[in-house]
């Protein structure tokens, strides 16, 4: 009797794939000692659609809509990365007007992605209200996308070589109205959360990942910046004319969940700053570079990566000179960042797992592809 009573063996707890706070179909198997997490194992692949295989069976233009379906809350960033990669292979560059519009839309998308993250992350922690507010602001962004390209989520906004759609009348006004409205809304979120004792207590010193660990695990994006590494591909290896914009890379020192929250909030403010500069710079001109109707890049390969809202999003494309890519490899930030769940969760409590999964900001469409 006494033996079973004092039995201290580990308990295996299955979380997901339908758990609401795993943000999709992520299954995490937890090894527990009481309430303490001794180890985690992620089981992924429930949303695997074989995007890389599909790419090998489509022409370059045809594959573009599929990339939107990987990270579906940041579809514009995905499309930008793919277009830049194919443009690199073709050795063409989008005209300046197209580049500026691309920057504007990508930054809007970054804000939209961070808003989704903030809303769902706060919801996981127990603060329901921010979700409604963030969705309200995101709606404004999606309306701009809808007016620009006709779709809200899986936008397919960019084409290889530039843009398909000319700006609609009033795009600048819409964006600047959003820029005027949005900083006050960020203040509102921070009023709700930053000083709130539950929020602060649930997040500080949870899921700490220092800079050395980040590099070991290949973690990028806000997680790396919260650990004190001032690294952002928009600055480090600028693309699409980002070198001409004046903005800062927010960093924090501790690398815990609270710092990542602060970093992302600051990033949204910086995005607004870039947006304001971008809409002033939209100059008249062509929106499409000279790209042949049938895209046949010369034999070769290229790796192009961009700073997606979640980290480094890379495309490695091998061309064999035909109309279809020979191989497209997507380097998904969510997939690589999710691997860091293990060191972050070790020693945490069960309730913190929810906070840690939320703070990595994964989208399972991108983890599984």
């Amino acid at each position: 009797m006494a033996e079973t009573f004092l039995d201290s063996s580990e308990l295996v707890l299955n979380m997901g794939p339908q758990h609401p706070s795993t943000h999709g179909v992520l299954r995490v198997v937890l090894r527990l000692d009481g309430e303490k997490v001794m180890g985690t194992e992620c089981i992924i692949g429930y949303l695997h659609r074989g995007v890389e295989k599909i790419a090998e069976n489509r022409t370059y233009q045809m594959f573009a809509p599929y990339v939107d379906r990987m990270d579906y809350v940041a579809a514009v960033s995905n499309g930008l990365g793919y277009c830049l990669a194919v443009e690199k292979l073709l050795n063409v560059e989008a005209p300046p007007r197209a580049q500026t519009v691309r920057v504007a839309l990508t930054e809007l998308n970054r804000i939209a992605s961070h808003l989704i993250w903030l809303g769902t992350h706060a919801l996981d922690i127990g603060a329901i209200t921010p979700l409604f507010y963030t969705m309200r602001e995101r709606e404004e962004i999606l309306n701009i996308f809808e007016k620009y390209c006709g779709a809200r989520l899986t936008t397919h906004a960019f084409r290889i070589g530039g843009l398909q759609y000319e700006l609609y009348d009033g795009f600048e006004q819409d964006v600047s109205a959003f820029c005027d409205m949005f900083p006050a809304r960020i203040d509102e979120y921070e009023e709700l959360l930053s000083g709130n004792r539950i929020w602060v207590d649930r997040l500080t010193n949870i899921g700490v990942l220092n800079a050395a660990q980040c590099k070991q695990y290949g973690v990028t994006g806000p997680l790396l910046r919260a650990a004190g590494v001032r690294w952002d591909l928009r600055k480090a290896q600028p693309y699409s004319g980002y070198e001409n914009y004046d903005f800062e890379i927010p960093i924090r020192e501790n690398g815990d969940t609270y710092d990542r929250y602060i970093v992302r909030m600051q990033e949204m403010r910086q995005s607004v700053r870039i947006l304001r500069q971008a809409i002033k710079r939209i100059e008249p001109g062509p929106i499409m570079a000279k790209v042949p109707k049938v895209i046949k890049p010369p034999v070769g390969e290229a790796y192009v990566s961009i700073e997606a809202p979640k980290g480094e999003l890379g495309y490695y494309i091998v061309s064999d000179g035909s109309t279809q890519p020979y191989r497209v490899r997507v380097r998904p930030p969510s997939f690589v960042n999710l691997q860091a769940l293990e060191p972050m969760a070790k020693g945490a409590l069960v309730a913190d797992i929810v906070a840690i999964i939320g703070t990595i900001d994964i989208v399972l469409g991108e983890v599984d592809r």
Binding site: G150, A151, E188, R197
Partner: protein, 151 residues
């Protein structure tokens, strides 16, 4: 001391509640009452496909060039055509469009040289059967007729 007092009096929580109550006013309502109130989608919205007809003589604008079928990533468009012996032109006979596999990327309407195929602002595409998702030429020309619900 001030921090302690602030904590004791739940000031941080009250601050948050103030924000919540500020948004309570009816003029801040953002929710759309769909389906009672149909939202107005943007002009460029990519929704239900339509095959345009010439309003003057009621003939189809489609020249059966098959470019949309070739551009479609999902290969869901099938164009049937027949050569008219008198005019020596291809004429459209059938046109099927499988909306169940469509991802509304807009590549088909980009490819269309005569603006015959168009993605319209209709977005109510639900049907009772899978077969109902496959639209034939008549359906594409006339457009879907969703049931109107009265509230």
């Amino acid at each position: 001391m001030r921090k302690f007092l602030k904590r004791l009096l739940f000031l941080d929580l009250i601050e948050g509640l103030v924000v919540t109550f500020r948004s309570q006013h009816p003029k801040h309502i953002y929710t759309e009452q769909y389906p009672a109130q149909s939202p107005k989608v943007a002009e460029r919205y990519r929704g239900a496909p339509r095959l345009n007809i010439n309003p003057e003589n009621g003939e189809t604008l489609c020249i059966a060039c098959n470019l949309c079928a070739l551009a479609c990533p999902e290969a869901l468009i099938v164009v049937g055509s027949e050569r008219n012996e008198q005019t020596r032109r291809k004429e459209l006979t059938t046109f099927t469009y499988d909306t169940s596999r469509c991802m509304f990327c807009g590549l088909c309407e980009d490819a269309c040289p005569v603006d015959a195929l168009e993605l319209t602002q209709d977005f109510e595409l639900a049907t009772y059967t899978r077969e109902g998702q496959i639209w034939d030429r008549q359906m594409l020309e006339e457009g879907p007729r969703p049931k109107q619900y009265k509230f």
